[in-house]
Amino acid sequence: MKEIVVISGKGGTGKTSLTASFAVLGGKDVIVADCDVDAADMHLLLEPDFNDSEDFYSGELAHIDQNECIQCGKCFDVCRFDGIDVINGKHIVNTLNCEGCGYCARVCPTEAITNNPLNVGKWYTSSIKTGSIMVHAKLGIGADNSGKLVAKVKNEAKEIAEDEFKEYVIVDGSPGVGCPVVSSLSGAKFVVLVTEPSVSGIHDLKRVYELVKKFNLKTGCIINKSDINREITSEIEAFLKSESIVHISNLPYDEDFTRAMTNGKTIVEFSNNHLKKSVTDSWKTILRNVT
């Protein structure tokens, strides 16, 4: 089983549209993992049945029992996160600020504070229209995207792939360079970077690649909307060459990306033009590089 992780650093480069297209092209051989749990969108294209769901708990949240609390203020004094509010003389946990470190409970003289496991979201195992399976999740509002839910989604997808002797897991990764994307990357056999030739596209590409490099992972890159700025496209191509990153393909600026999405379809199901061919060729190049 080989794991392909698609990331982009910057949002809006077409990462999810392309990942969903690869899932369709790979069909039954590919288990899909949507690790962009903070803004998960792939289900809008792959028609999951949300058949199996489970709550996910990560971290803790403090709770003060007002019957036991003597309002001594020790919890307030030790909290570094503004996690304790004093309202009408009563000490109350600010659930938005509480970090779940548990320090307050440890210093409370009357043991009025308990730490409860925090439900941060739900994860699902679904059958999708490709005839395969997708593991996906919905992070709760304002939850700590510490990467644990991302790791859960990924590990479930990998287990299913192994149990069912599937050849590939394709992962729609998280944006940014923080914990969720670090979790997305771990264990990848091949990383696909999706970028666009804009000042921010190349900036974010270089930053996220710095992170990928730390993990020593084999990497390729798709330059989407490559014709909106030829100069920066050349600059990105030079960067890929200098870093020995596989240049998978250049895709054109094409509003079929949006039209396909508006119709609930992936590009390869919607478009019949050269865009479909380019995306299909990109997938073939990726498969040649996953070793």
Binding site: V78, C101, Y103, G178, C179, P197, V199
Partner: protein, 288 residues
Amino acid sequence: MKIAIASGKGGTGKTTLSTNLAAYLSEKGKVVLCDLDVEEPNSGLFIGGDLIHREDKYKMIPQWKEDECTLCGNCQKVCNFHAVIQLGPSIMVFPELCHSCYACSELCPTSSLPMVRKKVGELVHYQDDNLHFIESRLDIGEEQAVPLIAQTNKFIEDTFSDDIVKLFDSPPGTSCPVIEATKEADFIILVTEPTPFGLHDLKLAVETMRELKKSFGVVINRYGIGSDDVISYCENENIPLLAKIPNSRKIAELYSAGSLIYKEFPEVEKQLENIHNFIVNEIQEEKA
């Protein structure tokens, strides 16, 4: 006054709106633009100016002093994040897991884990006439954006007076970095695009803002592509629609080169004026 510019989905045009709105408003008075997308800060690619201040940003982590340590194991026991581990005759600290709660340090009976600072990023302050630009940037390999966002908010608080208009370019999503970036704001502008992804992630962002009990409005970027579903959604939910920035390949090209678009697109300038009027008439009045 603080206005945060946020979105559920990435790449919908937060930075485009933040930078263009900041530059436009600076033609009328003093404005602060702050990039809180510390993982991938981009606003600085569109905004110039002179560097007037730069500082390293730190978080506090425990550092083991073995001399007095009795290896009682209390530090490991009190750390909820597994950032302090006792391994044989030594205590190991994993800085990337540490949330700087101080429990291990302050509850150590022999004070063997004093807190020391560790660099996590840097903050820069640029000025171009009326426009002040502040950006924080997380070091690669640092995983926690929230402490740096919190410190950047504090810098803004300490540096600028209350009456100045401040725009905050926020990180994408609906998880803790967004909460940290928007929780002090008087008003949130949610940027979306009229596509299924845009609408789906807008709904998550709206849910988040309602949870936070924030006033907010919506700006549609790439208006004209996709469908009218976002507009119907805003109407049904009574969410003010502040502006529509047209879909155009030319705008994408200008953006790609790092240019501000409103100077070349009168239509975009008009949309920014709509937002300006909304800020002046609705938000400032509500605040007063």
